[in-house]
Symmetry: C2
Subunit: 333 residues, 2 copies
């Protein structure tokens, strides 16, 4: 039984959040719908729900994995195999599949997504698509709060998206570990890495290892392109074959090792806090522009303030929005 | 002799604009510097200068060509050869070389740029680099006004940038003709085209035609990926070799044919007007966010208003900015 929804949100936010933490699917699905709702009344409810999520889970729990790469590299198949590996290991998995936005044609990768559904039905796997059609400039601002909800409900949260350059940078800014899926014929990917157009991923999976020599060659070239300092983490390049189910366990291990490294280096929690601070700034910038950020004291000051407080990012965001709106609305009278 | 500058701008904007139209390089260089200047006082001067540019030139003159593609495809070498072809044809060329931004590492493609300098010294060629380091989300808002200045001074204006996805969409929104430079090993590019992550270019140059069969194969695959309706323009795929100087004249012809097609279809001037309207909205969105655009009546209404007026985009932008700032500043008292 689950009957959580904004219409009753006022007294139920805590219960609703608790249901999400227990993995109650209808509660989670309604929570995700609420985040996508643009109406001001629903924004208030969403803020209330997100505020009710337990901070310790958001700061320390689970693993936020971004999976990115060009279309055709087999991201979805690799993700599906990773999900199977995590499930065998007893971990629950939530997936946010992000459709690339395009202001002209609109991207439609539904077929790509549907292949991800392969491991279902399984109560330990939850998949949600997030269309970003028409949105200009990188990832939707909904990705961060949605992944917070999923983080409370699942052991591993995957954000899957297509793109190179801006999109991929945005995913990196909102996840703990970024996994780039490349394919043997990935000349462009290698050039992007070399030229610094693409950021350094934390783990690289070269798919289609069943092709033999070409994938080993691509792996060596990518390893070469990666030969840059990455704050002490040596980026593993793993050969995988989603179709032959090869190398998937090694890939899962590499991802887990990166999470462990973050934790050992005391980077996991500060990383999560910074992710959420950047999300606040992104929302403010989308809504009020650089002028709005300046009126609030500027980006640096806002980030510094944010890192020193214990509040939820939604509370902080709503307070900052409230300050700007109150000042603007003074002019109405 | 040229001594134009903001310190004397008040009475000289018309003269300064006239000097730019004559191709006076110091006047042009100072104009470009002025556009990059973020100080409010300089913004006023920039608005004044751009307002003084002759509307007919901006609406009908010359050819704004975007050159994009992944790094390593040889964009800069192809651009350099195109410049030579245009120069042989007696046309002057202004180039805006845009450095891809990256909020983490900062992109540095200086070597790539320097190769473009090959055709210089030549009074009919002008090259300007535009760093966009630290800017999040696609192309700098400076590209549009800078290309307006160049359009007044040169027959062909090239905007060269690296990227796939958002960057490339942004260039397409601000140029007449977009030329994608691909290379034989362009599996990712083809996948991006097929998946609709990349917009349809107007002309494709497959470089490294000296490689023979692989480039013919890539050209055929790209032609296949392009098999979509593009409003009546059939996208030519031209095999070129920058190193062997092959196919460059055909490429120049294809670009010119696209401009002719735009003119024949009565699309050139409406396209230019729309480019500049989008630029206004982009500036407003960057500065005041979605909230600011809403306060002004919303994006659709603003674009409709813009298309019905004869003013310069800078005047329109400054008026809209002024309205928002006046309202905001009321609250100070």
């Amino acid at each position: 039984m689950s009957a959580f929804g904004p219409e009753k949100a006022e007294w139920q936010a805590g219960e609703w959040a608790a249901a999400i933490c227990r993995g109650d699917r209808p509660a989670l699905a309604r929570g995700l719908n609420l985040i996508e709702d643009r109406r001001p009344s629903e924004r208030v409810h969403a803020a209330r729900l997100l505020r009710a999520l337990p901070e310790d889970r958001l700061r320390e729990r689970g693993h936020l994995v971004g999976i990115t790469g060009p279309p055709g590299a087999g991201k979805s198949s690799v993700a599906a195999e990773l999900i199977r590996a995590w499930r065998r290991d007893g971990r629950s998995v939530g997936v946010l599949a992000v459709d690339p936005s395009s202001p002209i044609s609109g991207g439609a990768l539904l077929g790509d997504r549907l292949r991800m559904l392969q491991p279902a039905p399984d109560a330990g796997v939850f998949i949600r698509s997030l269309a970003t059609r028409g949105q200009v400039g990188g990832l939707s601002a909904d990705v961060a709060p949605m992944s917070m909800l999923l983080l409370c409900a699942f052991d591993v949260v995957v954000v899957e998206t297509v793109g190179i350059g801006q999109t991929e940078v945005d995913v990196a800014l909102h996840t703990d570990t970024i996994c780039l899926v490349a394919q043997p014929a990935s000349g462009d990917t290698i050039q992007f890495l070399k030229a610094g157009v693409m950021e350094i991923p934390d783990v690289v999976a070269v798919n289609k290892a069943d092709l033999g020599a070409p994938s080993r060659k691509a792996a060596a070239e990518i390893q070469g392109a990666l030969a840059r300092d990455s704050a002490g983490w040596s980026v593993p390049v793993v050969l995988v074959s989603a179709t032959e189910q090869q190398g998937i366990d090694q890939l899962a291990t590499a991802l887990e090792q990166h999470r462990q490294w973050l934790a050992d280096q005391q980077r996991l929690t500060p990383g999560r806090i910074a992710q959420r601070g950047r999300w606040c700034l992104k929302c403010l910038r989308d809504e009020f522009g650089s002028f709005g950020l300046e009126q609030l004291g500027g980006e640096q000051q806002l980030l510094a303030q944010w890192s020193q407080q214990k509040r939820s990012p939604y509370e902080y965001l709503e307070e900052l929005r409230g300050r700007l709106l109150a000042r603007w609305n003074q002019t109405r009278s």
